[in-house]
Amino acid sequence: MKAIEGDIRRYAWTHGQAFWRMVMPVPALLEDARGAAADGQLGLLRHSARNLGTACAVTLAFVERDARPAPSPRAQAAWALAQIEGHELAADCESLIRGDASMGAGELLAACVALSERIDLVVGRTPHPMSPEGYFPSLGLLREWLKLAEAVGETGFLPKEWTGAL
């Protein structure tokens, strides 16, 4: 038997948030980045890279720093970078958040893929919700995180309007 360290309510909230952060937006951002690189849409690629850097930094803040709560989306990049200062992936996240005009499309896409794969190693690889084979498994896993959160007295991390918890 292996103990979950720390308070289970905080664990359920931070790891549930991290799952929600990774499994839903990151595949979509990578999909956007790949499509943009293939079609020469540098603006979309930069936008996707910046948001992917933010999503990864916030994920690390939740899982590696136990940070709670998170600020509004517009403040999350700076908040997360402050939270993960010193982490081995912090510089990679910051690079994508800041942007780098000298990077070509191929290089930027490669940086996005590399960071997301390293984050996967931290939080665990999850089913791809935007693929036919991953859609239902990802929803199933999301439901399990929600049930854990509710079981330990947390309010969950989905919008209240979706869960009927108004």
Partner: protein, 362 residues
Amino acid sequence: MTQPVTDDRAARLQARLLDYHEQDMAAVLDLVDYLREDGDTVIAGGSLSIDQGNRESDLDMVLVGPTTKTSAVPLEHWVGTLRVDAWTRNTGDVDALFLQAEEALASDGPLLNAFGNAVQEQQLKLLHRIAFGVLIEGPPIRPATQRGPSELARDLLTREYAERARESAMVAGLALVAGRDMTAATIARVAVEEALHSVLHGRGAPFSGDKWLSEQLVGTGDLVALHEEVAVLPARGEPLAPFTERALAIAAGLLGIDLAPAALGPDLAWAYDGLALMPLGGRKILASRPHGTAWELDADEAAAWTALSASAEDGRFDHPQADAAQAALCVKLYEQGVLKLAWKCGVPLDSLTDPATAGSLR
């Protein structure tokens, strides 16, 4: 009313489906046929329908009819490599949505008050898909509003993004003064992008999401250059404050309104929930009960919070316009996610001017 396919957008959409996925609209219609009722309206929306998107983009199909049941979430399908998200909507719900939009635009309150929760936000996205989408089959959507869907949608976008830019500029401006440089720079960049959206849609451009801003700016000339100025933050180690100052100036110039904290402050309140300042052996602990988190404040911060919370009613206090220490604490607590902005009014469309013509964005 929704634009019927009298232009060649449907043909261009069809060509891209064939090019990217070797599928055509007939295959898509077959795919969603099980969701359809007799005589309903079928609209193709999303980035591909407005000449944006790429080979990875999905296709949004909106099915609207008087006996159609409104779906809570989009239903995901695949035809070959093409992902198709299908939304079903009852005609009555679509009418109500556009009426809500018209009422929100007529109100002096912030738009967020009208579209403030996740369901309403999702509805808002759907409104854009209906207004800017390509009519594939069935009668055009004709809501019982004074103005047509695309006109309403464009005004909503113009005002919504102006209000977002106002909020971003306010936070960035306060963070700049408080020496929170990374917060200020990252949010000031967002303020410019939000202001660009406002101008772009005020000029009549359709919408399919934030991510297409850069591609939609191509060909605008004046706006592209401004976006390029702030697309990338200074490299690590370089000062961020000049970038922030320039970005805030660009955002204000784009909208034609004063976005300085001194100008915006009177319209702003801050809201909080479950915060309590507790003495603990000579220390001052600000505890957040909902989040099981606490911060230790120094003496000045504790004094600032004591004053702010003493002026609060129902967890809300006016922005401390004349007190820099209190304003700085507001930014720090906003950064931590325990203080939120609560605007007392919206940004009137009539106050916005196009930077190129100085005419109204309305």
